[in-house]
Symmetry: C2
Subunit: 419 residues, 2 copies
Amino acid sequence: MSRRPRAAIVVTGSELVRGEREDRNGPFLAAEVLRLGLEPERITIVGDRPADLERALADGLVADICLVSGGLGPTHDDRTIEVIAKAAGRKLVVDEALESEIAEVSRMIAERLRRPYSEFTVGVRKQATLPEGATSLGLAGTAPGVVLETDGCVVVALPGPPRELRRLWPRAVESEPVRRVLERAPARGRYVLRFFGTPESAVAQALADAGGDGDGVEATICAREFEIHVDLVVEPGAEERAAALAGALRESLGRYLFTEDERSIAEIVLDLCRERRLTLATAESCTGGLVAARLTSVAGSSDVFRGSLVAYSDDLKERELGVPRELLGSHGAVSAEAAQAMARGARDRLGTDVAVSVTGIAGPNGGTEEKPVGLVFLSAVGPDGEEARRIDLPGDRDMVRGRATAAALHLVRRLLTQT
Amino acid sequence: MSRRPRAAIVVTGSELVRGEREDRNGPFLAAEVLRLGLEPERITIVGDRPADLERALADGLVADICLVSGGLGPTHDDRTIEVIAKAAGRKLVVDEALESEIAEVSRMIAERLRRPYSEFTVGVRKQATLPEGATSLGLAGTAPGVVLETDGCVVVALPGPPRELRRLWPRAVESEPVRRVLERAPARGRYVLRFFGTPESAVAQALADAGGDGDGVEATICAREFEIHVDLVVEPGAEERAAALAGALRESLGRYLFTEDERSIAEIVLDLCRERRLTLATAESCTGGLVAARLTSVAGSSDVFRGSLVAYSDDLKERELGVPRELLGSHGAVSAEAAQAMARGARDRLGTDVAVSVTGIAGPNGGTEEKPVGLVFLSAVGPDGEEARRIDLPGDRDMVRGRATAAALHLVRRLLTQT
């Protein structure tokens, strides 16, 4: 098997290295290069200290391709280009065509801000200055994406704002130097298996029992909000072994397997409803709108999803969802009975075919010995029946709410696939 | 000024370096060491290839403290301890006391899983094997946190699951070797200024006009969903200069300044309501429950927040929020008129003092020339009046929804602070 080209990712930004903001560019670029058949080898996040950036870039140039995000702006703090030139042993030269291009954009900005263009000329020249031999990938704002082929490594520099980086990334992929790296990456196969309702350790054990990964099949097992995601990445020649592994997992854990594609559970629920022309609503207490937000994060959800009643107070549970006051008094708002009444109430009230409800104690306060923090009741009602579930969730408020949201969506899936 | 101790963070995990999951430990640890007065210098994310981990650790040992997350499990893929020992030039030895501690936990796990304990002994011994001179910080599951003082660097290894890492982190901070590093970090001052409604460039300009950072004051400017967050970190001796900078920002941008603490806009809105004993509801279309979810993410929000009507379909806007059918027909659901009717309807219907509504086109589909993707109307109604806003948001579906959510909360703030 030929050696697969390796990618290093260098992300610059003081706010990122200080943990004031979470980096989105590193994971995006890593997933992209993986998809293109390269092996992501490291993501390094550094601030704008030149020495830190230099060290990260020197490490990055050891890979076959080095993707750099950020530090392309017009000010002296933006040092990526100068440090790349230094690391690659290239002179810095002004790209005249690029300079006119940036000047044009900057003139418009000057006009909009009502500042004299003369304030921009230094910045324009700085942004048009590239390492000798580098080419521009076009502009995002006034910052150019840049690609440079050095001895053994192709360096791509992209602007830091995630939206601008994502806009210029396809041009980087199409550039000659990057294409030559990609040609050295043989296509890999991939299996995606998503389980729900079984612990990560059981999936790991099933994988080990089936012979484990290795020999051209690389497995990753990832737990996310009760879902266990298994990815098998398959090198050329290992197709049979991978098919056998996937088959063994299907066999031993089939009843927990809910999809073999990358659709989220929200997408799956919407698709299940769409197939049967069912409409959907939610009634939420402790999740406070998260189930609805997750469903509506999917573009085109409006043909299925109608709305939600977030009834955070008992008063609204009674008045808007029709949960009987006596029920709230005898069983409490966090009970199987209340969950069922909420789901039925939402279905009636919002006039949908299917409704799902969540009521629980997200914490950190409000727990009792009988009903501790993390106790959640779910109910799903549809045209052919009902499903209910009680769960005890570990973790903090965010985790309880996130997991209860996932569990609510999976309960709808169960309701719609078991009939 | 004495040199401030520097921290390197090494995060291990194949799913992280491949972008299959976003790392939470790096930002958490970076923010923690920053708070403790250290300077985070880099976050490196690597997979479980020993060579990659070795290189990342060798780089990390150049710092004064190196925090490593992940790779402490019982299997052969978990190589952090062995690589630390190698990088530090230490032998691996079994810690007998630690071995009994891990054995005890493992016996319970074996029992629960109904597996013979003999299957665990190799893993137990592996997890009790530490570099010579290292000490355990206690267990999370069966994995010990570990601290090791090497020549010039204190290495701390913590388990990868974020919850376990956060649980053991305080013990690391209290450990002797880490305390000695922290003693070398003089206390820093900090100013926090949060602006809304002005572009990042205007804040950067105001900062530059006031003399800019440097000379013991380090400024970071960060844009998040329309908010511009300015942090000034102040070295001993630079207090006056920092106070002058903060004063200049207050003066030039005072009307956009909404807080000088770290409360989120959701917390601020809840506090404003609480002070005046007002209750709050939301009526949401394109945000699909996100405003309610943001408010209820704050613990204790139930004394203010009552509920939400997510009316995704026009039908529900009419029936549940009382938006007149004629209004929807003449102005459309995405209009200032519909937003106002939604907010008024939610206030009436859910019986609160204050309500805020959002209606817009989140995209990617559904836009027209007259009403393009990103067009959002907001309305807030309270006991003393109303506020309305129209915004045109750039970006994809997630960004439009996120920014509309922030704008809705800020509209409530404006409603409650202008009267």
